[in-house]
Symmetry: C2
Amino acid sequence: MTDRPDLTSSTDSLPQTLPDEFSFIRRHFRRLAGKDALDLTDDAAVFTPPSGKELVIAADAMVEGVHFLPDDPPDTIGRKLLRTNLSDMAAMGANPFAWLLTLACPKADSRYNDAWFEAFSDGLAEDQALFGVSLLGGDTTSTRGPLVLSLTILGDVSPGQALRRNGAQEGDGLWVTGTIGDGALGLLALQDKVADPTGWLTERYRLPRPRLGLDLSGIAHAAMDVSDGLVQDTGHLARESELGARLNVDSVPLSDAARSVVTDNDGLALCLTGGDDYELLLAVPDDQTSALLARCRAQKIAVTRIGEFVSDQAGVQVLRHDGSLFPLRHQGWSHF
Amino acid sequence: MTDRPDLTSSTDSLPQTLPDEFSFIRRHFRRLAGKDALDLTDDAAVFTPPSGKELVIAADAMVEGVHFLPDDPPDTIGRKLLRTNLSDMAAMGANPFAWLLTLACPKADSRYNDAWFEAFSDGLAEDQALFGVSLLGGDTTSTRGPLVLSLTILGDVSPGQALRRNGAQEGDGLWVTGTIGDGALGLLALQDKVADPTGWLTERYRLPRPRLGLDLSGIAHAAMDVSDGLVQDTGHLARESELGARLNVDSVPLSDAARSVVTDNDGLALCLTGGDDYELLLAVPDDQTSALLARCRAQKIAVTRIGEFVSDQAGVQVLRHDGSLFPLRHQGWSHF
C-alpha cells in the first residue's frame, strides 16, 4: 500500500494535488497502519519477529458476488475477510498480530465511492481493536471486473505448537465449536429464501467469529476451520491424517435460528455442506475431553462432539443416531 | 492455498475424485511449495524467522488489462508479479525468501486452462530457482471479471539496515540503476506503436529485473524502486525526505533500443513518466560515490547519477543540460 504521488508538472516545482491512489490510501488506510507499516509510505514494512516464536502466515481472497453480496454493508465486507483469515490463525493455534491488504477496485462502479470505503475502513478499525492486529501494508489498483480483496495474515506460535491437519489418530473424537449452518442459512436469508426475524443468520454470514485464544496445543491432535462445509472439511481432516471419520448428524450443533428454519433433510444437508461456518473442527483424544471442555468454557465457546476418527474406512460416513446413512448429494463447496 | 476436497457422497465413504480447486492447486502449485508451506494442505504456513534479523513484507496486486496484457505469455505473467515484489525487497535492501499468492481466475474465459497455468507455474518455478525464494501458501477463487493476482513477499534484513524513502539529505546525488523507459516503450511495442526489432523493450516490459544483492546499507541514504514513473517516484523520494530534487533529463540512462525509438521530447517524456521500470532510485552522498560504483560493478548493474536533492525548492525540477525546464504534462502513473 504504497503512496504514489502524481505531484505536479515539472514546470512548477510545487506539489499541488495528491493523486487519487495516494489520497485514497491516506484517507482510508493510514489510520489502520501499525508502527511497523512505516506510515504506508515505503516499498515494504519492516518488523522484528517475536523472539523465540515461529511465524504463521496465510492469504485468502474474496470476490464480490462469490464471497460477499454487492449490497452487503461495506463495514462488514473487510471484517469478513479479516475474520476468515483470523479463523485460519485460530485453526493453527496461532496468535495473529498483523495483516496486509490488496484490493482491485471496480472504478466504473459508483457504489465504491469514498463513503463506501470510509465504512469499509471503519469496520476494519473496529476489528483491529477487537482482535489486536494492525495493518502492515498492501496495494490498491483498479479493475474492470468486480471488487477483489486479498488479505495476508501473520501470527506467531510457540515452536512446535502449531496445530496441523494431519495429526488425528484412530479413536479421536471429532469436535466442532459453536454452531453449524448459520452462515449458509444467512446467505439464503439475504436472498429472502428463509426467514431470519432476529438477524442472527445474516450476521453469522457477514461476520464470522474466529475462535482465537483457545490454546489447544497438547489437547487437540489436529485442527482446521470449517469454511467449505462440515462434511467436506471433516473429510479433509481425516484424509490428511490417513483416516476416515464417522459423523453423527443428529449431534451437529444448530443454533435456535437454524433450528427454526431447518425443517427437513434438505435443510439439514445444507447446514452440513454449505460452508461459511468458520468454526473449529478438532480431533481430540478422549482423555483430553475434560481439558477441551475447560478451555472452551473459559472462552465461552460452545464445543460439541459430533463423531470420531476411524481406520476401518476412508472418507466420511454421515450417520443418523439409529445408524442409518444420512442422504447427501455432495459434501461441500469448491470455490474454483 | 488450501486443498479443499469435495470428496464423495456420504453414502459411499470412499473418496473418488478430487474437486477442481484441490487438483488445480496440486497440479500447478504444490511443486513450488517450500518446506514450510506444509505441502499447501493446512490453513497456514509455519516458519522460523531467521535469527537476529528484521523481517520485511510487502504485497502487490496485478490485474489483467491493467498490469499485463491478456495475450502476454503466461510464463511471464507470474514472473512479472514476483519480480515487481522482489523489486520492493531490493528497494528496502532486504533479502527475499518466501512468497504467497492469491488468484481470482475468470472461469468463463477458456484461455485460462490447464496449459495456461502449467506455463504460468513453469515461469514461477524458474524464477524461484533464480531468486532463491519459495511459495508459502495462498488461495484460489473464481471471478466473473479479469484475472487478478495478489502476491505477498517476505524477506529479511539486518536490524536497522532497511533502506527507507525518508533519509535523503540535501546535496545527496540522485542515482538510478539500469536504464529508464524500456518498460513503457515495451508496452507500446506490444501495441505495435513503436518498433522493437530485438525484442529488448518487450522483454523489459514483461520481465523486470529486480536489483537485488547490492547491499547499499551505509552507502545510500534513501531508496525506492521506480514503478510509476521516474519523475513521479523521484518526487516521492524527495517529499518523504522533506526535500526537492533536480533531475537532469539529459543524464537519464536510456538503452540502445530506447534511443532508437525516442526521437523527440514526447518520447523522452514517456520514458520519464511511463513507469514499469523497476530500477532502483537512490539518494547517495558524494563521499559514497566510489563505494556505490564498486557495489554496482560487482553485481554488473549499471548506475547513473541523474540529479541531486535540494532544499531550495519542493517537488521535482526536470532540467536540460543548459538549465532550461523540460516540458512534461504529468509526472507519472496512478493505478487508481
